[in-house]
């Protein structure tokens, strides 16, 4: 079985390197095809692994060779295929494969075609390293690797100039890329510290060793581990306050947003928490804290999505809020639920993004949804699939979202955190509203695009074909709930609901109700030309529209002071103080030299005088400084 492990892992790498060979050459179609094929292979072997692990409850392990061996630290390149990682593998490879195929069409006219595929496959490889590694260090490799790839891909169109925030909320691709990288780095420091703590207490970074020993420790230590690891997770999963980069990351090509910033990378944080459940299950209060943060983000992000006019940003915010949901589940100990939502979300969110990509193509990269409308006529398929995705997102039966998202609400309610439940409930409503606001404004209502002179067209068949499986999954994935549960709970702890049917039904009712009403409101309002302009004057609207002014705040609070401080550090401290002191000392000595030359007046009688003075000094010393015996 190791064979399949390695195939899954390295096929994307091969694809990436293959594409890299043509990285600086003009577009070559086969590059994309080869890369996609390799991903297909990788997907297949991932499925094989999944089946194998599912059928025979054995965990497939493989070790390539030792990476770092120092002192008592030994980090191998070790990989493991257990229920959790196999699920992740399948999800990742599947979505990536589809995105690859989709990109062949999407990036058709981009001269960076080959480069794009090498980056994209490289990303898949790193992501697989992240999920398959059997130790924290390996996870960290993938962790940074995906960071790098997201940096490359966000900044893919690096040649665009920097604009001011009001022209382009995320200043430029390059800027957004750096922002993403640095924000993640901040979190990574936390994660590294987490690793240090684990190492210095347990002496290993292998999951099995760590998790088998973790319960030996004083609760405070485990708490530290939990906190610092979660800080890492916050960075990758863009949880508040490290969330700003995700929206800006939409500067990247849309397939990238679909794959990295919706389906896979951003969920790495959730994966980390799920993966290290033995730690978190020891420290429920931290879990609660995580859940609270998650719930907050769920609402907070959704609220921003309500008013935004940027097609991709809206979806980005919804991703954010869905991540919030996942953390609630993970935090409350319903790890498998979190994982389940992670998977379903991957499907329908990727679908949503790809649909958005089609729309962008159709509207030649116009993003303002108020310049669209009535596109249903020209792009039925896209519209259909996006509606499916939105329904799934909104959590309407029988779509996938219904099963996973409602589970999370149930968990919240069941564990008696009613406030959390309420927040999520409101969030669900918002979600339903903004997703259908989007649908309405893009696909229905008057055809505003005409006055901007766009000529939309449906995407080519293979792009739609690439989306179809996702659409399918967005519909049916939910029905695998139970098989999924029993599969992953062979590793993850089960979550026992202890509330009788009636409340359960009531809850589902309530959730569906708010979702439907959200949809209803959106459909009703926007079929009637939407809200009146004066809403735009409303301070709340402004607040939401400007993302609570948080980016500006960060600018004022961190970026600018840092810039100024470093200027001071250089110009004032380093040059004026430290260096000047050194030169000053040297200068003093040199100046003394000039002063001392007067002794050498060259006048003989003065010279004689010096001699006599010298003698006299000695004689005076004879008198004054009487010898100490």
């Amino acid at each position: 079985m190791e064979k399949y492990l390695y195939i899954t892992l390295f096929a994307p790498l091969v694809g990436s390197l293959f594409a890299a060979m043509f990285g600086m050459k003009p577009k070559k179609l086969f590059v994309g095809i080869v890369a996609s094929l390799l991903l297909f292979i990788s997907f297949i072997s991932a499925v094989i692994l999944l089946v194998h692990v599912a059928s025979t409850d054995e965990v497939v392990k493989a070790q390539l060779f030792d990476w770092i061996t120092v002192g008592s630290l030994n980090i191998p390149f070790g990989f493991v295929a257990d229920p959790v990682s196999t699920v992740m593998m399948v999800t990742v490879t599947l979505v990536s494969m589809l995105v690859h195929i989709y990109s062949i069409g999407y990036m058709e006219h981009d001269e960076g075609f080959n480069r794009f595929f090498s980056y994209l496959s490289a990303f898949v490889f790193s992501m697989l390293v992240l999920v398959m590694s059997d130790n924290f260090a390996g996870l960290f490799i993938g962790w940074e690797g995906v960071g790098l790839c997201s940096w490359l891909l966000i900044g893919f169109w690096y040649h665009k100039p920097d604009l001011s925030r009001d022209q382009n909320p995320s200043i430029s691709p390059a800027w957004a890329a750096n922002e993403a990288f640095i924000m993640n780095r901040i979190a990574d420091l936390g994660m590294l510290i987490g690793l240090f703590i684990i190492y210095w207490h347990i002496g290993s970074l292998q999951y099995d060793v760590v998790f088998s020993h973790v319960n030996l420790f004083d609760i405070s230590i485990i708490t530290m581990m939990g906190i610092f690891l979660f800080i890492g997770a916050m960075g990758k999963s863009a949880q508040f306050p490290l969330h700003t980069w995700l929206a800006d990351a939409m500067e990247g090509p849309t397939p990238v947003s679909a794959l990295i910033h919706a389906a896979t990378m951003v969920t790495a944080g959730v994966y980390l928490v799920v993966r290290s459940f033995p730690i978190y299950s020891q420290i429920p209060e931290i879990g609660l804290w995580i859940a609270t943060l998650g719930a907050f983000v769920a609402v907070f992000a959704a609220s921003m999505a309500l008013v935004n006019t940027d097609l991709k940003r809206i979806i980005a915010y919804s991703t954010l809020s869905q991540l919030g949901y996942m953390f609630v589940a993970a935090g409350l100990g319903a790890y498998w639920v979190a994982l389940f939502h992670l998977m379903t979300h991957a499907f329908f969110k990727a679908l949503l993004f790809l649909g958005a990509g089609n729309v962008m193509h159709a509207m030649d990269d116009e993003l303002n949804i108020f310049k669209m409308g009535g596109l249903y006529k020209v792009m039925k398929w896209t519209a259909a699939m996006m509606i499916i995705a939105s329904l799934a997102l909104a959590g309407i039966y029988p779509f996938a979202g219904f099963f996973s998202k409602d589970k999370i609400l149930e968990v919240a309610f069941d564990s008696h955190h009613y406030i959390l439940w309420f927040m999520l409930w409101v969030g669900a409503g918002m979600t339903a509203f903004y997703s259908f606001r989007l649908i309405m404004l893009v696909f229905f209502g008057e055809e505003r695009y005409k006055k901007y002179g766009f000529h939309p067209h449906e995407a080519p068949w293979y792009m739609l074909a690439a989306m179809a499986p996702l659409a399918l999954l967005a519909i049916v994935a939910g029905f695998f709930e139970h098989s999924f549960e029993e599969f992953v709970t062979t590793l993850l702890p089960e979550y026992h609901f202890h509330m009788e049917g009636i409340t359960k039904v009531a809850l589902i009712g309530l959730t569906t109700l708010i979702a439907l009403s959200g949809i209803g409101l959106a459909v009703y309002k926007y079929s009637k030309g939407g809200f009146s302009e004066k809403w735009k004057e409303n301070p709340i609207y402004k607040l939401l529209y400007n993302q609570y002014y948080i980016p500006q705040l960060y600018d004022k609070l961190f970026a600018q002071p840092y810039r100024e401080l470093s200027q001071i550090a250089w110009k004032e401290l380093d040059l004026r103080l430290v260096d000047a002191t050194v030169d000053f000392i040297a200068g003093i000595i040199y100046a003394t030299g000039f002063k001392s030359r007067v002794v050498q007046s060259g006048n003989l009688s003065k010279m004689l005088r010096w001699m006599v003075i010298g003698l006299l000094i000695l004689l005076v010393l004879v008198v004054l400084y009487s010898p100490v015996r």
């Binding site: 030359r597 050498q600 060259g602 006048n603 009688s605 004689l608 006599v612």
Partner: protein
């Protein structure tokens, strides 16, 4: 009754005089004289000591000093004369082409 100390005092006084001369005089010739005085002061002291110790070494030393003083004068005057030939005066302040 004149004791050793009187001689020593005399010697000391002479020596100081010579020092003063060296400090004050701007004339090269006078400078040489001043140094001679210094040496003679020493001679007196030495003579006195050797008498005091009933030991000839001191006088021996004195004789050597006289001889040396003589040769010094020889060399000194030689230099002085050349200088006078070249510059036409023997003022100390003329010799400061080199300084710093």
């Amino acid at each position: 009754m004149i004791t050793l100390n009187h001689y020593l005092v005399l010697a000391a006084i002479l020596f100081s005089i010579s020092l003063v001369g060296i400090l004050r005089r701007k004339n090269l010739l006078m400078l040489f004289f001043a140094t001679e005085i210094a040496l003679n002061a020493v001679n007196i002291a030495l003579a006195a000591f050797s008498k005091f110790y009933h030991d000839l070494t001191g006088q021996l030393f004195a004789f050597f000093i006289i001889a040396i003083a003589a040769s010094e004068v020889a060399v000194g005057l030689g230099l002085l004369i050349i200088w006078y030939k070249r510059t036409g005066n023997i003022d100390l302040d003329t010799l400061q082409s080199m300084n710093g």
